[in-house]
């Protein structure tokens, strides 16, 4: 390893340069969100705004009264999808790992096969089914079809199969039924797997673009991602507003990432090597 030591400073420089490449777009957007339009148009290329202002943030909420609504729509959808997935995927994963019932292996292999189905195949038929149900422009149009995901059912099954059986056996003797056992003993011990799932599902739902684009035509039902796109269309070249709106959309996902980032690696390496 001695030969590497000589090059260590060079590697630090490389890492630093790439960190800059990663950060600059974000910082540049953040900076624009605090600049006034004249400052942006005059083409001043400085990162620190000359006259930092919160006007852009005030204006987007005033000019686009639905902006707050879009934020709440996104939050409600992302939180519901996350909650349902945690519950349903864990229940199914547990049943597949621990309960013997007729058809269980058929179900397991079906779920393995479903992981491989690309989402593009079901876009159009799902749209027609949701339309037939009369769900267009409703929260359930996005929440219900996303409420369980094969990938995470498989992940939970793999987690529960390596779970120490003794705990469950002891509680079973105490007279807890399967349901009581699952909620009182198994779920509380599955926290690391649940945390990894939470992050991926929340991010996926919060950032989802195609589904709300196709299912929500009523402006008040837009999510932030779709709202942001229409907002861009209306305020084209008002980059100060567009960047302020982008910053608002990024903050929740960023906070979750910073607080839970150790679970991220765990989850990626899991889904990456399955």
């Amino acid at each position: 390893m001695r030969s590497i030591d000589r090059f260590k400073p060079a590697f630090y420089v490389l890492l630093g340069v790439y960190a800059l490449i990663t950060f600059i777009p974000f910082l540049w957007a953040l900076s624009a969100s605090f600049k006034s339009l004249p400052e942006i148009v005059s083409g001043g290329m400085h990162l620190i705004p000359k006259h930092a202002t919160l006007d852009n943030y005030r204006t987007i909420f005033r000019q686009e009264p639905l902006f707050g609504r879009w934020f709440l729509n996104s939050a409600f959808i992302a939180l519901s999808v996350t909650g349902f997935n945690l519950l349903f995927n864990s229940m199914a994963g547990y049943a597949l790992a621990r309960i013997r019932f007729p058809g269980s292996s058929l179900m397991f292999y079906s779920i393995l096969a479903m992981i491989m189905i690309p989402g593009q195949l079901t876009i159009i038929p799902s749209y027609l089914i949701i339309k037939e149900l009369g769900w267009l422009n409703s929260y359930q149009a996005i929440i219900v079809p996303m409420a369980a995901q094969a990938t995470y059912i498989f992940m939970m099954r793999q987690f529960f199969i390596n779970f120490p059986k003794e705990l469950e056996e002891a509680s079973e003797l105490d007279g807890l039924g399967k349901l009581g056992l699952f909620f009182r003993v198994v779920l509380p011990l599955a926290k690391p797997a649940l945390a990894a799932q939470t992050i991926f599902i929340f991010m996926g739902a919060w950032n989802e673009f195609l589904k709300p684009l196709m299912l929500m035509s009523d402006k008040s039902m837009f999510t932030l991602s779709v709202g942001l796109n229409t907002f861009k269309g209306q305020y084209i070249s008002f980059w100060n507003y567009i960047m302020a709106a982008s910053v608002i959309m990024t903050i929740p996902a960023l906070l979750i990432y910073i607080f839970f980032n150790r679970f991220f690696v765990q989850g990626i390496t899991f889904t990456g090597t399955k």
């Binding site: 540049w28 957007a29 624009a32 089914i129 673009f209």
Partner: protein
């Protein structure tokens, strides 16, 4: 005794099915049923006006593809995109992961920082890059500063796709970096120790130990990259306001399917395209799984 045994069996079956029931309903209605429906749609001409009606069309939707110039443009864009993006992001991911895998300080900070673009919404990323790409934007300013030619990145068909490529290499390489990092940590230490005894230098070790050991992961990363290319939608939709322009330069397969389905309301043909895309993606996945399994057994 026999009675209580069958009773437990019955109770197990009951709890098994009740635990599975939400998933059976959801995946049944919104995954299995749509798959069957997709196949049905792709074989029919669908009329959406008034009450939905279907007319059997046999393979007409599939035959139409051969003469569809926009499909060929989308495929060419996809191929161009894959040829540049997949190798670049794979090499970048491997380089970053290899550096992070050395015992450097602050490596955790760098890992967390590099991963940031991957958790940011594609809608936001596209807007940030459009802001950087606009004619008076940061990128042109920097290009001018070092004496390179500037472009109208958003409106010039010859560079619009390149703009999306740069953005996507930047935003997806970190995901593969994390996968590589995990794989690098799984390489047995004693291989390197043996090479140290033989007096191998760092580059020799990288070439004759690290790279061969990473072969399955590299294959996985490349396949995932190619599949991601086929699935590209958000970026080109937002970039071009749904048109795939300028002059079809950013038209992708999924955007084409979206346009046929929701702009032209031609659900039958759009479903046939989606069906074909899905088959291609599944074949690629299947090949990867089979080869990967073999690697594991060896």
């Amino acid at each position: 005794m026999a009675k209580s045994h069958s009773k437990t069996k019955f109770r197990d079956a009951l709890s098994g099915y009740s635990f599975m029931s939400p998933v059976i309903v959801i995946l049944g209605c919104f995954l299995l049923l749509p798959i069957a429906y997709a196949i049905f749609l792709s074989l029919h001409k669908v009329n959406l006006l008034g009450t939905v009606s279907y007319k059997f069309a046999g393979s007409a939707n599939f035959e139409r593809m051969i003469d569809d110039p926009r499909l060929w443009i989308a495929l060419r864009n996809t191929a161009k995109y894959a040829l540049i993006v997949v190798p670049s992001q794979t090499v970048l991911a491997l380089a970053l992961a290899s550096i992070l895998n050395m015992q450097l300080r602050y490596r955790n900070f760098f890992r967390i920082a590099f991963y940031l673009p991957t958790v940011t919404s594609s809608a936001v990323l596209v807007l940030i890059f459009m802001w950087i790409y606009n004619s008076n934007g940061l990128l042109n300013y920097l290009l001018e500063l070092v004496g390179l030619p500037t472009y109208n990145w958003l409106g010039d068909p010859s560079v619009a796709l390149l703009g999306i490529m740069i953005m996507n290499v930047w935003s997806t390489a970190p995901l593969f970096m994390v996968i590589y990092l995990a794989a690098l940590q799984d390489i047995p230490r004693n291989l390197y120790e043996a090479a140290d005894i033989d007096g191998a230098n760092a580059w020799q070790k990288f070439r004759s130990i690290t790279l061969p050991q990473l072969k399955p992961v590299t294959f996985y990363v490349i396949v995932m990259g190619i599949i991601g290319t086929f699935q590209l939608f958000d970026q080109s939709y937002i970039f071009s306001a749904g048109s795939g322009g300028p002059n079809n330069a950013t038209l992708t397969m999924v955007l084409l399917i979206y346009q046929y389905a929701f702009k032209n309301l031609d659900m039958g043909y759009a479903s046939a395209l989606a069906f074909l895309l899905a088959v291609v993606i599944m074949l690629i996945t299947l090949v990867q799984r089979l080869l990967f399994k073999e690697e594991k057994l060896n």
